[in-house]
C-alpha cells in the first residue's frame, strides 16, 4: 500500500513521468537494491529522497490492515485515489504525510463460510485477567498474591473442566511471563542438554493456590452453542503480570520472561 500509493507516485514525480505515461503502471518492474529504487532505464532513487517527496505531496506514508482467516482469507475492495483495489484483508486504514490514520470504506467484503470451521477453532471466546503481585524490594522476588480470570465460552458442557482449563492456563501464563526461557543458539535447548532444570515451569508453590478466582460468565441464552476454551485462558495472564510489574516498578518490560534479576535491576 505504502509503495503503490505513496512511494511509487513520488518516484514518478521525481523521474518526471506523467500519469498517462505507460511506465507509470509498471511498478512491478521496479525493485529495491541497497536502499535505492531501481526501474528499467531510470535513475536509481534513494529511499530517503522518495520518502521526502511522498510527504510533501501528501502521499500514503502508513497503512494498517486487518485480516481474518478461517482456512481461507477474507477479502474486500477499497477505493483509493479513484481506483478500486482488492486484497486478502477486510479492513484498511491509511495515513497521508504526517496525518492521522483514516479508515477506508470497503465494498464487496467476503468472509470464508463458517462451514470451513470443521476442525473446531473458536472465534471470540473471551477471557480477561487481573493479578495482584508483591515484589520484594531487596531481592526483586515476585509473589502472586491473587488472581482473577473471567471468561465466556457459550454453553459450557462440563464447567469443572472449563474451570480446570482456566486454572492450568493461569499457571502456563505465569511460566511464560516469569519463568520460561528458550534462548537460541549454542547455550539453548538446541544443544541437546537441557532439562526442566533450565526450562523452569511453574510449580504449585509459585501460584496463588487458594487465591485464584475463575469466573465463567453464563451463556447468552440456553441456545448459545458451546465454544472452544483453550489457549485464551493463558494469554491475558501474561499481559496482566507484565502490567502489574509496571504498576509496581514503573518499568515496562518488553521481552519475556521477566525474571527476578531483571526486576531487581530496575528497582532503585
Amino acid at each position: 500500500m505504502i509503495f503503490r500509493y505513496g512511494l511509487w507516485p513520488a518516484a514518478l514525480d521525481l523521474w518526471r513521468i506523467a500519469s498517462n505515461d505507460p511506465r507509470a503502471a509498471q511498478w512491478e518492474a521496479a525493485h529495491w537494491k541497497d536502499g535505492q529504487l531501481i526501474a528499467p532505464g531510470l535513475t536509481p532513487l534513494p529511499l530517503p529522497q522518495i520518502a521526502a517527496r511522498t510527504h510533501t505531496r501528501n502521499g500514503v506514508t502508513g497503512a494498517m490492515a486487518h485480516g481474518f482467516n478461517r482456512w481461507a482469507w477474507s477479502q474486500a475492495t477499497f477505493a483509493i485515489d479513484g481506483q478500486n483495489w482488492t486484497a486478502d484483508i477486510d479492513a484498511l486504514a491509511l495515513r497521508r504525510g504526517v496525518g492521522k490514520f483514516v479508515r477506508l470504506d470497503r465494498t464487496n467484503v467476503k468472509f470464508p463460510p463458517t462451514d470451513y470451521s470443521r476442525s473446531g477453532p473458536t472465534y471470540t471466546a473471551q477471557c480477561g485477567t487481573l493479578v495482584r503481585i508483591e515484589i520484594d524490594r531487596a531481592t526483586g522476588a515476585l509473589r502472586i498474591a491473587k488472581g482473577y480470570s473471567v471468561l465466556e465460552c457459550g454453553n459450557a458442557l462440563v464447567p469443572q473442566v472449563v474451570i480446570g482449563q482456566a486454572q492450568g492456563g493461569f499457571a502456563m501464563g505465569v511460566g511464560y511471563a516469569l519463568l520460561e526461557s528458550l534462548p537460541l543458539y549454542e547455550d539453548g535447548p538446541g544443544n541437546g542438554k537441557w532439562t526442566l532444570g533450565q526450562y523452569v515451569v511453574a510449580r504449585g508453590s509459585y501460584l496463588p493456590l487458594r487465591d485464584l478466582e475463575i469466573e465463567m460468565l453464563p451463556a447468552v441464552d440456553a441456545n448459545e452453542r458451546p465454544k472452544g476454551m483453550a489457549e485464551v485462558v493463558m494469554i491475558p495472564v501474561v499481559a496482566a503480570l507484565v502490567n502489574a510489574i509496571f504498576d509496581a516498578t514503573g518499568h515496562r518490560f518488553r521481552a519475556l520472561p521477566v525474571t527476578q534479576e531483571m526486576i531487581k535491576g530496575v528497582l532503585t
Binding site: 473442566v161 480446570g164 510449580r203 504449585g204
Partner: protein, 171 residues
C-alpha cells in the same frame, strides 16, 4: 548383571537377571508392562515416575524410578498406581481426584496419587496442626509438575480428604 526380586502391589516378581544400567522405570514399564507409572522428564524433575516404597517398619516414602537403578529396588516392596484400588473399589484419594476433576490428561496423576497417599499415611502417623496444612500439602506435592491443571484441584482434593477426617490427620 544383577538379580532383582521386588514385591509390587503385594505380588513378588523375580528373581530376574537385569543389567546394571536398567532403570526401575524401564523395569516396570518394559519388563512388567506396568505402564501406569509414567516416564516424563527422565531427570527426577517432574515425578510422574514416582512410586511408593514401603519400609518393613510400616513407614513409606516415594521414590522416582526414572533415574534410579532397578537393582537398587532388590528386596523392596513398592506400590504403583495399579495397586491403589482394591477389588475394583477405588481408594478415597482416587475418588476425591475424580470428584474434584483434579486431573486432565492424566500423565502426572499416578505420581500425584502416590505422593498424596504417602502424605496421608505420614500424617496419620504424625498429625499436623490445621494451620500448617496448606504448607504441608505444598511441600509434599511441589516436586510434581503438571502442565494441564495448575495444581489447584489436586491440592483441593487432598485438602478435602484430610479435612473430611480431621481426627486422623490433624492435631
Amino acid at each position: 548383571m544383577t538379580t532383582l526380586s521386588v514385591t509390587i502391589n503385594g505380588r513378588t516378581y523375580g528373581p530376574t537377571e537385569v543389567r546394571d544400567a536398567l532403570t526401575m522405570n524401564d523395569y516396570l514399564r518394559e519388563y512388567l508392562g506396568l505402564t501406569g507409572t509414567k516416564f516424563g522428564c527422565g531427570a527426577a524433575q517432574c515425578l510422574s515416575c514416582a512410586v511408593i516404597v514401603d519400609n518393613p517398619d510400616g513407614t513409606s516414602y516415594t521414590s522416582p524410578t526414572c533415574i534410579v537403578p532397578a537393582a537398587s529396588f532388590n528386596g523392596k516392596s513398592i506400590r504403583t498406581v495399579e495397586g491403589h484400588a482394591k477389588n475394583g473399589e477405588l481408594s478415597t484419594l482416587q475418588k476425591a481426584f475424580i470428584d474434584h476433576f483434579a486431573f486432565q490428561c492424566g500423565y502426572c496423576t499416578a505420581g500425584f496419587l502416590n505422593e498424596s497417599q504417602a502424605l496421608l499415611e505420614r500424617l496419620a502417623r504424625k498429625r499436623v496442626p490445621r494451620a500448617a496444612l496448606e504448607k504441608t500439602i505444598a511441600e509434599a506435592l511441589d516436586g510434581h509438575l503438571c502442565r494441564c491443571t495448575g495444581y489447584f484441584k489436586y491440592h483441593e482434593a487432598v485438602r478435602d480428604v484430610i479435612l473430611a477426617d480431621p481426627q486422623r490427620y490433624l492435631v
